[in-house]
Amino acid sequence: MKWRNRWIFLGLVPFVLMVVAFQFAPILSMITGSVRAEDGSGLTLSYYARVLQSAFYLKAIKNSLLISISSSIIGIIVGLICAYSITRFSPRIRNRLLMLSNMTSNFSGVPLAFSYIILLGNNGVFTLLFKQWGWNVFGDFNLYSWTGLILVYVYFQIPLALLLLYPSFYGIRDQWKEAASLLGANKWQFWTTIGIPVLTPAVFGTLGILFANAMGAYATAYALVGGNYNLLAVQIGSLVSGDVVNEPQLGNVLAVILALSTLLAVYLNHKMTQRSQMFNSNSASRQVRKRRTLRRPWATTVKEEL
């Protein structure tokens, strides 16, 4: 780059300003807020100590972790089975199925919680219908509890898992199977020695995304249970926006904890993506993938539950 063309980098200034102002400044402010004493002098870890000694906040962390881990694991199991199943269909139907599943992933947050309330809430259609028919399957089911939350979380995890896992199933070429069977491997041997090792990084990477997604999910939980269920994201919201007692410092601490967990999960995804690129590292297949992502831009963009 010749010196006289340096002025072109002025085009980067607004971008850098925006990212610093709205991405880095808030993160920095949150971290300093969690360690600064209330009178504004010196550093303190007393807020962390308070959170870690409070049974209430520990419970919130535990609930969030449990709900995120269980919904991610259920999501990934269903996603794996369905992703495999989808590869067995003809391309036309396969695209339709993926499109439908992708479409439902737009249905999240407040509208999703709301539609579950219509279906299974206290006066929900199914609840009343089953009561009238005398079915007792949902007898002690409560949508506004742990089971209800899991049910709704799994609903938004499955399309995401499917979307993220499907490409790796697609990456297992039929030629590989043919080659393996030519060399005398049976189906079981193919999957244990080739299929599963190839899929493993994708599975753990997807698990990371699903976990981060569930940990950060606020809208669904907030619309469904409000303040009635002790979840990390909901607690942060009420501490900061002042629904209850206004204690922003504790909110900062909880937010740092939540951010650490999601960062870790996304980092896991990053590492796993690198590893799975090992399997298709030759440039030809990368070219193919690039084309494929172009062909379906709507299918490859992952929209997270916000």
Partner: protein
């Protein structure tokens, strides 16, 4: 291959059928609820009406919220376009070494959930030199970060697909200035891809609830905040709103798909 498809077909068909039912039932229920006059103890509603929709469109608060949403999302996406287009262009063409660093920055909004971002934003801007907490400015800034990954990826990928560096080289060889080359050669070529990420960003922002509710919930009502407030009042009206919102998003993604196809054809043809 053919025989295997037929042989394993039934189990897989059943499985996919169950999955689709599971995924579509909440949508379907909301749809029926929006058109139902009464729906208590029957499989399907007994009487139908479009009254909820007409009530919705007569509600001033709904129209206000819709207008606010459209207005805020358009401003944020436009701002993002104006800032991101030159920035991504410069990084992709002149600073390819920075790309891995950029990837890190772009993935951050994914890793930092909305509720965490809101905590930081409120603390950073409720006092001090820039006091914009609770105003539309802080929301537009937050929205800019939310759509950063989509915009960056979209523009970056389009630039790579049209081989921007080579295009630029040829344009300059033919005597175009740098700005002219960008505006009249690069920009028209990447436009379909840019449109795609613009629409995608728009639909993401349209569905945003956490940041909006936490940052400006008391002062500014977007369609999501309005829906949240309506859920407790009238179930039927709320489903009418939810369904209209969903159809709007669906139309957007349909346009997205068409654009994606056209862009692809443009490259191949």
């Amino acid at each position: 291959m053919e025989t295997r498809v037929r042989k394993t077909g039934l189990t897989h068909k059943l499985l996919m059928f169950v999955l689709m039912i599971y995924l579509l039932i909440p949508l379907l229920a909301t749809f029926l609820y929006a058109f139902a006059k009464e729906w208590q103890t029957t499989v399907l509603p007994e009487r139908w009406t479009v009254g909820w929709f007409s009530e919705m469109f007569q509600d001033i608060r709904f129209l206000d919220a819709l207008w606010t949403s459209l207005y805020l999302c358009s401003i944020s996406v436009a701002l993002s376009l104006v800032i991101m287009l030159p920035a991504v262009f410069i990084i992709t063409v002149y600073l390819p070494k920075w790309e891995s660093f950029m990837k890190g920055i772009v993935v951050l909004p994914y890793a930092v959930p909305g509720v965490v971002a809101a905590v930081g934003l409120i603390r950073a801007y409720s006092s001090g030199p820039i006091e914009i907490a609770g105003t539309a400015y802080i929301l537009i800034g937050a929205y800019f970060i939310v759509i950063l990954p989509y915009m960056y990826q979209g523009i970056h990928n389009s630039l790579l697909t049209v081989s921007a560096v080579e295009l630029l080289g040829s344009a300059e060889l033919l005597g175009a200035t740098r700005i002219k080359a960008f505006v009249s050669v690069i920009l028209p070529n990447i436009w379909p891809g840019v449109m795609t990420s613009t629409l995608l960003s728009f639909s993401v922002l349209f569905g945003e609830f956490v940041l909006t509710n936490m940052l400006v919930g008391g002062h500014i009502q977007t369609i999501q905040v309005y829906l949240y407030q309506r859920v407790g009042e009238s179930g039927h009206l709320a489903s009418a709103i939810a369904i209209s919102y969903f159809i709007f998003i669906l139309v957007l993604s349909m346009i997205l798909m068409k654009l994606g196809k056209r862009m692809n054809r443009g490259i191949e043809g």
